[in-house]
Amino acid sequence: MSSTDIAINKTDMHHDHEEHDHHHDQNFFEKYIFSQDHKVIAKQFLFMGIIWAFIGGFLSVLFRLQLGWPEATFTFLEPILGGWVTNGKLDPEFYLAMVTMHGTIMVFFVLTAGLSGTFSNFLIPLQVGARDMASGFMNMLSFWIFFLASIIMFWSLFLENGPAGGGWTIYPPLSALPQAIKGSGTGMTMWLIAMALFIVSQLLGGVNYIATVINLRTKGMSMTKLPLTIWAFTLTAVLGLLSFPVLFSAALLLIFDRSFGTSFYLSDIYIAGEALSNTGGSAILFQHLFWFLGHPEVYIVILPAFGIVSEVIATNSRKPIFGYRAMIGSLLGISVLSFVVWAHHMFVTGMNPFLGSVFMFLTLIIAVPSAVKVFNWLATLWRGNIRFTAAMMFAIGFVSLFISGGLTGIILGNSALDIQLHDTYFVVAHFHLVMGAAAFFGMFCGVYHWFPKMFGRMMDEKLGYVHFWLTFIAVYLVFMPMHYVGIAGFPRRYYNWTGFEAFNMFTDLNTFISIAAIFGFTAQFIFLFNFIYSIFKGRRATQNPWHSNTLEWTTPVNPGHGNWPGEIPAVYRWPYDYSKPGAEQDFIPQTVPFSETQSSNLPQERVLE
């Protein structure tokens, strides 16, 4: 154990194996590699997330090339892809593997680990007023197990038979039978191992986040004085804690089916004319287990973005967030509902239609808390004294994407309409807007906003604007036409459609989508440059560059381990006292007691003076 949590928790006496004789200087490894400081761990998650995002994005460019120009020859890709390109044609099984890995990487490694790993770690201790996470050691383990999962998943990309290829949902029997496709061989085994480790990492992180929020809030930081970011991160952790173990069960059973001859998911299968001995299992069972995780997972991806965006919009509109308690309530509502809607992913799998209508009803109810959130963001922006920082642009972009993607969610939630739309590009367009691009916007928003706290320097605003507009335009150019392609009936996961007469008329549209996708991917290098350049050469940040109320801005510009050099500040008010009538400034930090702000106190606050 390093010299870390010295005076971290006065109330806590349970640091096992803790040596109390330290104060020695940390060496390089303790400080940057096996660090137990939540801020360093957050940055580690962020760097890994960015690396994975570029890998995942690159894969999408590769398969968009195939979809956009199905007749073209890709000999120029041979130096990169080697045997996967024969005579200038992409191997169809490799296409499937790329689609699978793009989904897996983006959903789990970028938007789960990269997003909530970064911001939950970074912001929870800073915003609740704690010296560090409850257990720094477990936090470190969480990152390194994630790292191990990343290595295995990355390694699987270079297998001769390719990585997993059964889609990111890895439905058996396809994924359970190695003889079915190349992508169900070693690649799938490694996928399962990597995901099992990933789940362990998520659970280690999750229990830490929740325990920290419950036990380590500073004096005065009641649950209704917490910034919405913390509410969102906590509920994200709860969702992960309850849904990931179910994926773990599903994956373990699948591992047994694959490697030890059991028949949990397998029954009555003929492969290459030969009957398999497996009997009695059910493939639908896997889908139920998978989507019991899978649906909360989309909220695990989007809730942190909700929190980040609420915080950034309030700060940069210089207005209190509209409906703070309604925001908490809607987060709670979405979290609860997320566990009872999983079967809307399975409307056409042969499920009882009556069950389908129950799940449809529950699914459509989610529109209510989601709309509460959207209207509250809009009401916060309404007549605000808006500062268009780069983070704010991304926050507003997020709201736009969330509305556009959310509306198609209402369409897809109908079990009858789903008969036409399931497994088409309409679904792809829907979830890329509402949880893919939107969560990415939340992530960018968070990076631009908290970059000064992370690295003590500012990111370049102008490059940020360029990055925002190019990304924003590219996202709509890609996914708006995709809805039309989907309504026309284009199935997803197809290598090409040139064999179908009906789909030929959309070739141009697909080329257009591909060009826009490549354009959008290229724009991300502006962000990458800005990010790396600003770490070393950015303008130095002041202590509170955005004039924000929350606790993290009361720490020094470059907070050391322990976050606050002296005593942890106490908290007296909610975090959204922006532009309070009668106040000297347009913001009142949470650490200012009411006795100091008599000119702006409301009648009910007088008693607190």
């Binding site: 006496m13 005065g220 599903a250 059991t262 028949s263 497996n278 287990l289 500040p569 200012v592």
Partner: protein, 248 residues
Amino acid sequence: MSTSTTLEAPNTGTWDGGNEPLKASYGKLMMWFFLLSDAFTFGSFLIVYGLSRHSHMPYTGKVEDFYFSTEWWPIPEKVFNAFPGLHGMDLPLAFVALMTMILILSSVTMVLAVEAGHRMDKNDVQKWLLWTILFGSIFLGCQAWEWAHFITGDDKGMLLADGTTVFGANLTVNQYGPPLFADLFFFITGFHGTHVFSGVILLIMVFINTVNGVYHKRGHYEMVEKVGLYWHFVDLVWVFVFTFFYLI
């Protein structure tokens, strides 16, 4: 920050921060949350059991006429009726009842260890931990025997359609009925057994620390309590596994 803030007192309610609102240290909270998520893991396995069983035919004839067949799900009393040393006797669920009793007894001794920890009575903690380790290990031993018997099968075996007779069960063939019955038995009791095994390892570690006086020096035996939570959870899960596999 002005100096007057230090004179100001922030709110001090249960949930106002700066305290432990649930009156539990973060370590205990983490253990509770872990157990909650582990409950979901076991829950999904038991749901898999329920659904798999539901998709198979039940035995509809008279109990006396029951015989093993892949056509129907076996009656548990007919499968688990052996007892070590009493070969060939029909003692339905006797052995598993004994196992269950032993595990429940280990929970009792665990409670006593935790209670001794509250009294800071090192010797008592040691004593009760040792009993818990002993009972836990006996349970694991019993399970090993149970597995061994399940794998070897009884003397009769099951006659297959092609004229061969199978004895015992593995992950692909099963003399007691549909293969899935054996798959689920091995998987779920195995997963539970792994938990008990981890628990015994944890108990041994805690026992060594107790003997070395680590907790006494620390001033509290909370580690014993945390492992105790885990142990009771594993015990509780067994009650459900037992109910699903043996009773229903």
